[in-house]
C-alpha cells in the first residue's frame, strides 16, 4: 500500500477534528461567557530512506545518509482556548452582571469545590440566594432579603439591597478570581471552568482592583466567538480536507495504474 494513501487519510481525520471544533464554537456563538477554542496540529514521525536504497541495483554505497525523509501525516494534539474578552451587551436585568476586563466569577459546586465562570447571568432562588443558571450559588453565598425592592451591584462588586422602609443594606461582596495561566483551566461544560495544576492557584481580588476587571450591572458578556474568523477557519479546514481527499484519489489512481501493469 502506498504511504500517500494513509497519510492523506490521517490528514483528512485531522481536518475533521478541526471542523468538529469549529462546529462547537459556532454552536456557542450565542452562549453567554463562552470562550472559543482552536485545535493544535502537529506533524507525525518521519521515515528516513537512505538514497542508496532507492533503486535496488545500486552497487556503490555512496551517500548513505538519510537524504529522503517521508512524513506520515498530521494529528490533532491539543485544544487551545482563547480567553479574550467577549463583547458586553445590555440586558437591563438587575441580576445580569458582566466582567469588563480580567477575572472569573466563582460559584460553589454541590461538592463544595469552586468553579469559575465568565457567565454573569444570575438569579434569586427560592431561599433568596444569588445563583447562576445551573442553580449554583455565588461563592460566599449572597442572600437577598425577601423584602428587598431593588438590588444594586457596584462596579467594585459590592451588592446592596434597597429594603421596603427605604434603607440600604450591604448584603455581600462579589470577589473575582484570576489565574497565572488561563490556558491551563479545564472546561467542564455549563460555562464553567475548574482550576488545574497547569492553571496555577487562583488569585482573588475585588473587581476594579489592580489587574481585575470591573463589574457592569445590567450587562452580559457575549461569547467571544467571531463568526467571520470561524467561517474563515471552516473554509481552511474544509479545503484542506478536500485537498487531502484528492490525494487519496491520486494514490488510488496510482495503485490502479500499478495493477494494470499486468494485463
Amino acid at each position: 500500500m502506498p504511504r500517500a494513501l494513509s497519510t492523506a487519510a490521517l490528514g483528512m481525520s485531522a481536518q475533521q477534528r478541526s471542523v468538529d471544533n469549529i462546529a462547537n464554537n459556532l454552536a456557542n456563538v450565542g452562549t453567554t461567557g463562552f470562550k472559543r477554542s482552536t485545535i493544535a496540529f502537529q506533524d507525525l514521525f518521519y521515515e528516513n530512506i537512505a538514497s542508496s536504497k532507492m533503486g535496488s541495483s545500486s552497487s556503490q554505497s555512496s551517500n548513505d545518509g538519510p537524504s529522503l525523509q517521508i512524513g506520515h501525516g498530521s494529528r490533532a494534539v491539543a485544544t487551545i482556548r482563547n480567553f479574550m474578552q467577549g463583547s458586553v451587551a445590555e440586558t437591563g436585568n438587575v441580576l445580569d452582571i458582566a466582567i469588563s476586563g480580567d477575572g472569573f466569577f466563582q460559584v460553589e459546586m454541590p461538592d463544595g469545590s469552586i468553579a469559575y465562570s465568565r457567565d454573569g447571568n444570575f438569579s434569586r432562588d427560592a431561599t433568596g440566594l444569588l445563583v447562576n443558571n445551573s442553580g449554583l450559588p455565588i461563592a460566599g453565598q449572597i442572600e437577598v432579603p425577601t423584602d428587598a425592592l431593588a438590588i444594586e451591584i457596584g462596579s467594585d462588586g459590592t451588592v446592596t439591597a434597597l429594603l421596603g422602609d427605604n434603607t440600604q443594606v450591604d448584603i455581600g461582596q462579589i470577589e473575582l478570581a484570576k489565574f497565572a495561566n488561563n490556558g491551563g483551566l479545564d472546561a467542564i461544560g455549563d460555562n464553567l471552568f475548574i482550576e488545574t495544576e497547569g492553571s496555577g492557584l487562583a488569585f482573588y481580588g475585588t473587581p476594579g482592583s489592580e489587574g481585575f476587571g470591573v463589574i457592569r450591572q445590567g450587562y452580559l458578556e457575549q461569547s467571544n466567538v467571531d463568526i467571520v474568523t470561524e467561517m474563515v477557519r471552516l473554509i481552511e479546514a474544509q479545503r484542506a480536507y478536500e485537498t487531502n481527499s484528492k490525494m487519496v484519489q491520486a494514490a488510488e489512481d496510482m495503485m490502479s495504474v500499478t495493477n494494470s501493469i499486468k494485463r
Binding site: G11, S67, Q69, N82, E236, T243, M247
Partner: protein, 240 residues
C-alpha cells in the same frame, strides 16, 4: 528502469501527501523534493537514474495573532529549543503554556530552553509585591522574558546555516546532524501573541501531485511498451 522510476514517483507522491496533510499544522515546514542524477557504470554501459532527496523548506509561514501571552512566533530565521525527555529538539511551533511547576512547556509537555536551561516562571504564580495583583509576562523582540518589566530569562533561539542538516523528528521537532552548525546569529524577531502557520502552498502541492500521477502513468505505459517489445522478441523470433 521503469520500475525504479515508478518507485521514485511513488515516494514523491508520499512526500506530497505529507505536505498536504500538514496544510494547517502550525510551525510546519514543508518538504522540498528534488532529484539528483546518479550515473552508474555497468559493464561499460552508463545507466542514469534519478534519486529523490528531500530538504526542509524554511520559508516563513504567515503569523497569526492569538492574543495569548504564551504564544510566540519567530519572524525570520531561527528555532526555539525544547527538551523532551532528555533529548533536545528544535522547533518553530511556539504555542507554549505553563505547567504546574511553572516551567514553560509546549503542547507535548516538553520544557522550553532558555539561556540557562529550562525556563521556569514560577514567579507568575506569586502575587505582585507592589499591588497584590497577578504578575504579567512580557516577551521582547529578542526573546527576553520579563515579569513586570524585570528580566527573568531569555528564550534560546538557534539559527541553522545549512537547512540540509535538519532532520525531521515529527511533532514539529527537528534535530541537526552536526552540532557545530548551530549559531545564535542572524535570528529573526520574537513575536509575542502570535503563532506561525505552516508554509505549505496548496497550489504548488496540487501541481506536484498531478505531475507525479501523470509521470507514474507514463512510466507504466513505457513499461508496457518494453513488455510488448520483449514479447515480440520471444514470440516472433522464436518461430524462425
Amino acid at each position: 528502469m521503469q520500475m525504479q522510476a515508478m518507485q521514485v514517483l511513488q515516494r514523491s507522491q508520499d512526500v506530497t501527501a505529507d505536505n498536504l496533510a500538514n496544510i494547517n499544522t502550525p510551525g510546519f515546514k514543508g518538504n522540498k523534493l528534488f532529484y539528483r542524477m546518479m550515473t552508474e557504470n555497468m559493464n561499460g554501459t552508463e545507466i542514469r537514474r534519478a534519486v529523490p532527496m528531500s530538504q526542509v523548506n524554511l520559508d516563513q509561514g504567515i503569523l497569526e495573532p492569538t492574543g495569548n501571552e504564551f504564544d510566540v512566533a519567530i519572524n525570520g530565521d531561527g528555532f526555539f529549543k525544547v527538551m523532551d525527555g532528555d533529548q533536545e529538539y528544535l522547533t518553530r511551533d511556539g504555542r507554549f503554556s505553563l505547567n504546574n511547576d511553572g516551567f514553560l512547556i509546549n503542547n507535548n509537555g516538553a520544557k522550553v530552553l532558555g539561556d540557562s536551561g529550562p525556563i521556569q516562571l514560577s514567579d507568575l504564580f506569586q502575587k505582585n509585591n507592589e499591588n497584590g495583583g497577578p504578575n504579567r509576562l512580557e516577551i521582547s523582540k529578542d526573546g527576553s522574558l520579563l515579569i513586570n518589566g524585570i528580566p527573568q530569562d531569555k528564550l534560546q533561539i538557534i539559527n541553522i546555516n545549512d537547512p540540509s542538516l535538519l532532520q525531521r523528528q515529527g511533532s514539529s521537532y527537528f534535530t541537526v546532524t552536526d552540532e557545530i552548525e548551530l549559531s545564535d546569529e542572524g535570528t529573526g524577531r520574537v513575536m509575542q501573541g502570535y503563532f506561525e502557520k505552516g508554509n505549505v502552498k496548496p497550489l504548488a502541492e496540487m501541481v506536484d501531485m498531478m505531475r507525479n500521477m501523470q509521470m507514474f502513468e507514463s512510466q507504466q505505459r513505457a513499461m508496457r511498451t518494453t513488455d510488448d517489445m520483449l514479447s515480440q522478441v520471444t514470440n516472433r523470433l522464436g518461430k524462425i
